[in-house]
Amino acid sequence: MVYSPRMSISHTLLGLLESGPRHGYDLKRTFDQRFGHDRQLHYGQVYSTMSRLLKNGLVEVDGIEAGGGPERKRYAITDAGVTDVEQWLASPEKPEPYLQSVLYTKVVLALLTGRDAAELLDTQRAEHLRLMRELTRRKKDGDLADQLVCDHALFHLEADLRWLETAAARLDRLANVVRG
């Protein structure tokens, strides 16, 4: 399965419908609350996604409120939709070999240009920690969904730093060897 952000939005919206039928505006609001910390959905994205899901038979229109307009439609998930969510949840995401390609580029450049990798590491760590403190505070005040979202970000940031630390230590050792 090829990963695309749009695909994950449609699966996420489908998943939200599993607990019961919802209107488009309700879907957007719930998505933003649960997953929209750094990317809120546009209404247009919701409606284009829902019409594609309708066409593929993964959702159906469950009711239309008086007043007309696309935002009045209430959507319900179909059996095929539930199966689709199930499959998506069961298949692993493609791991990204160079998670932070910019950091990688910087460290390699530091090596190539004989710069201090420790300096790069300390500066990057300070920047990472600033965000990690914010996430830690947000997690403390948040509900379970906030905690899970923040943990995910925190573990990724930590992994970046650990990789940088190891890279910096390797580079310093290498530099010592080169300098004799």
């Binding site: 420790a118 300390d122 500066t123 760590r125 300070a126 920047e127 990472h128 920690l129 600033r130 990690m132 403190r133 996430l135 830690t136 403390k140 925190l154 573990f155 940031l157 930590e158 730093l161 650990r162 630390e165 230590a169």
Partner: protein, 229 residues
């Protein structure tokens, strides 16, 4: 940062050499009341040595440490130990509980050492064990607990005397990430309630994220990263 007059603990130009190994080579450090400062840096860079010098456990070869305006090295050994018992709390990197004592007795120990009666000391110890969610092992001795439980007992012991400065060297080292996090939450909440300062040595960035700022120790020198970004 606030003016240096409000600093609780200040170190300047600390040098310490073990044999031919330089552990500290001109380290500076400052911490204010209520502040949580993470001390990070590679293994062997001098973090524990810095903490031991700040706490008056190890005398530096040169350089000074001032606590509330008093220079630690100018105090007699007896006055320095009395100060440590009354004002400092410790969570050490390596084994620190008294093996012959139960959890409750271990946690009560710092209070007993400053003259609090047994009953009062043990009831305060029990409250901390409850708060750290380990009161179920309060009658166990250190040999009868998991490493993580032992670490929580050590943290309860560091907090029980309401110290002004808590020195914690890898306090979450023996805990999995969820427990490490809960302990960090409890430790920093307790410190903020009592305006205690925390010197927190850690190599884990998720643990350091509970601090207000970080200091990086590298080759025996400490670099304050506040304002570096």
């Amino acid at each position: 940062m606030t003016a240096s007059t409000s600093a609780l603990l200040t170190a300047s130009g600390l040098h310490k050499t073990y044999g031919s190994t330089p552990a500290l080579a001109g380290a500076d450090f400052v911490i204010h009341p209520g502040e949580v400062v993470a001390v990070m840096g590679p293994s062997g860079s001098g973090k524990s040595t810095l903490l031991h010098c700040l706490a008056g456990i190890v005398p530096p070869d040169s350089g000074t440490v001032h606590y509330r305006g008093k220079e630690l090295s100018a105090l007699s050994d007896a006055r320095r130990s009395a100060l440590r018992r009354a004002d400092f709390g410790f969570v050490f990197q390596f084994g620190q509980l008294v093996p012959e004592l139960t959890c409750t007795e271990n946690v009560a120990l710092p209070l007993r050492l400053v003259g609090v009666g047994r009953k009062e000391a043990e009831s305060r110890a029990t409250r901390w064990l409850e708060r750290l969610e380990i009161d179920d092992v309060r009658h166990h001795r250190p040999g009868q607990m998991s490493g993580g439980q032992g670490q929580r007992v050590a943290i309860a012991r560091a907090l029980v005397g309401a110290p002004s400065v808590i020195f914690a060297d890898e306090p979450t080292g023996a805990l999995d990430s969820l427990n490490g996090e809960r302990v960090m939450g409890l430790l920093t909440d307790a410190a903020r309630e009592t305006r205690a300062a925390v010197v927190l040595v850690t190599h884990e960035s998720r643990v350091a994220a509970y601090s207000d700022r970080e200091v990086i120790v590298r080759d025996g020198r400490a670099r304050d990263m506040a304002g570096a970004v």
